[in-house]
Point group: C2
Chain length 446, copies 2
Amino acid sequence: MSPYTVSNVQDLRICVVMVGLPARGKSFISQKIVRYLSWLLIKAKCFNVGSYRRETTQQPNADFFDANNKEGLKIRQLAVTNAITDMMDWFNKENGVVAILDATNTTRERRNWVLKLCRQNRIEPMFLESWCDDQDLILRNIAEVKTTSPDYVGVEPEVATKDFLNRIKKYEKIYEPLDETYDQDLTFAKLINIAQQVIANKIQSYLESRIVFYVMNLHIKPRCIYLSRHGESIYNLEKKIGGDSSLSPRGLKYAEKLPELVKQDAGDVDLTVWTSTLIRTQETAQYLPYKQLQWKALDELDAGVCDGMTYEEIEKEFPEDFRARDENKYEYRYRGGESYRDVVIRLEPIIMELERQENILIITHQAVLRCIYAYFMNVPQEESPWVAIPLHTLIKLEPRAYGTKVTLIKADIPAVSTYKEKGTSQVGEDDKSTNIKTRNLLMTSL
Amino acid sequence: MSPYTVSNVQDLRICVVMVGLPARGKSFISQKIVRYLSWLLIKAKCFNVGSYRRETTQQPNADFFDANNKEGLKIRQLAVTNAITDMMDWFNKENGVVAILDATNTTRERRNWVLKLCRQNRIEPMFLESWCDDQDLILRNIAEVKTTSPDYVGVEPEVATKDFLNRIKKYEKIYEPLDETYDQDLTFAKLINIAQQVIANKIQSYLESRIVFYVMNLHIKPRCIYLSRHGESIYNLEKKIGGDSSLSPRGLKYAEKLPELVKQDAGDVDLTVWTSTLIRTQETAQYLPYKQLQWKALDELDAGVCDGMTYEEIEKEFPEDFRARDENKYEYRYRGGESYRDVVIRLEPIIMELERQENILIITHQAVLRCIYAYFMNVPQEESPWVAIPLHTLIKLEPRAYGTKVTLIKADIPAVSTYKEKGTSQVGEDDKSTNIKTRNLLMTSL
């Protein structure tokens, strides 16, 4: 159960109803919320009305979205009805907790209709509007949509932009933004230029306020997050886990090469480096010409009584623990130490601060990187402790509207593998893998 | 270190500058923030300008606060200067993290002056305005102030009310509320009728957004929180910890008497009962004629491998652990189980939901009650695991503007004592104590 699922009998069900013109980051925000809640083990799903509409109409032009286009209206009404039907099914059959209805919902009439449907089904509606007059932000969003939206696959960029601007105009004609006074009886949050200003009205439950808190921390400026494990350490060579050892000679080589590796990819972009408080991450960061911050919360998963032991020693000394951990690695808590779930809880402020920041390079540890990676890539909880994250590899994450793009940059400096397969205590051969499991290499979308 | 102190080298310092007319709940909010952050082990302190003013002028009448009263202005300027001087000292000498400047700060001139002082001292200013036009709310606040403010000790209620209304008028003449547009370059949060609507502007850091998140969940309606441990259980009689046993015959008697005990104090007030998911709390709640909710997060501190053992057995089998726990009970984590700190982290959603609610009766366990009690009564972290919370006793908490009032209501049904003094493994004699340690009986104020 999630640490945030405060009750197992309270059947709170929330529908986050997105509101806003096209190109205001609604889909981005929707997907972020789903990923964040899922990471915290709260059952969440996004219902994107555009996807339902694409089942019948793949690449409509702007006229399709005209409020006077009867055929268009009919198809769009069918799409939203289908989305809501599926959403209700999901709540009822799969015990969903938070659904996001990702659509423009630009008119009061439409919003009232959704409101009524929610109330009839004992679902709390919370409207979440993304209102924007920052032209840079809108243009960046349009650029993003025209390159990533299924509506414009294969369409010339100029044609796509023009059509999309036209589509926005159709919506502007009928748009009724949420109003602090007129809509004061509704539960809503209004984001003005993303999180420049946030108005939260009649937030009813802890979970709703948590969602508002999260979106308050988001921004949608393009940026990169680089992740790296520390260079190979003395303990890695000795096959020991935990501890606070220095880098091995090969680890030091990685530290020396890291500035070049980063610069080749990032160019002159300004970065901030986050490390843990442990020696091996700081030694890895020592040659980087950027501002550096140490975070206690980035320290490696605490192995408790097993700290400093090899997996073989653990298997011998604590055979039951060793098996229990293999069976449920996410939940297993080392004696006097931590579980992956514990790490996720303490990483939450890191994730929140990461959302606030622009370009960041994080140098940390295997288990911690797995958790951060799982958050961005939406890796299911049971798989996240098994993601292979090799040493001496820079991972680049680029958050996009419809997922996160991953690129792996190998340093070409040999290192041991610290990856322990399920059911064995063997690690330590030189790592031959060239990358993270293939499934994780793809751009994820929910 | 706090789970929320995400870095040990980042020297973020925040000054929350309160803004608002008298009787808008500013002191209440200030003290809640301090108590909440302290509970999470974030160093926080409130600097109440009124207290500084009272060093020279104890019971001024409304004319003292007139903007044209030069003598009054001089004294008030000195008070705010002294408060800020002490605040800067606290930041520098005691490594303070969040200070609250609790004053009206009703003019832009005053706010700009504070802003400048903060910036000069590398402190991030965040303005927090309580704006109110809900007359019921204001009148309730006035009633609260006239009975609890040191300014009106010994003054006839009618006289106090009249003078206080007059004082508010003096401030209204010069009040310049924070404005969404005019003040858009400031970091601020504006609470409209407490949390009916919240406007958050340019929130800069995770800690700031966390504070806004917290105040979003507050309300200031008068209410009671009743706390009770479950009735005496079979395990209590057997001196065992943890487990999921049923109530003893005496415990069942307590369950039978509880409805009467509650009714005698609460009258016909509508309550909601929260229990843990464990049998003994649900058996204790079984005769209560109120809506009931079970929370996983209210389950007893998980004693891991020691679950089901007596303290004597733990001392014998795990002597090192036994000693380690006595030495630092707050931090000690049972093998495969939890520490008090772990319980605090998982209780946070409970505390947040509790802040949202009105009258609640919580039936839970010794360690969990200690943590909840510590939050409301501002018990220091190192003392909280040692607070004696006897069985068969209803604890009533009444949050007030200047602290929380505690009343103990004994059921007069004998029960064993489960209190373990430091350095011994003895528990289980019938409990002779009549109440929680005397220091905790008083109304706390920060």
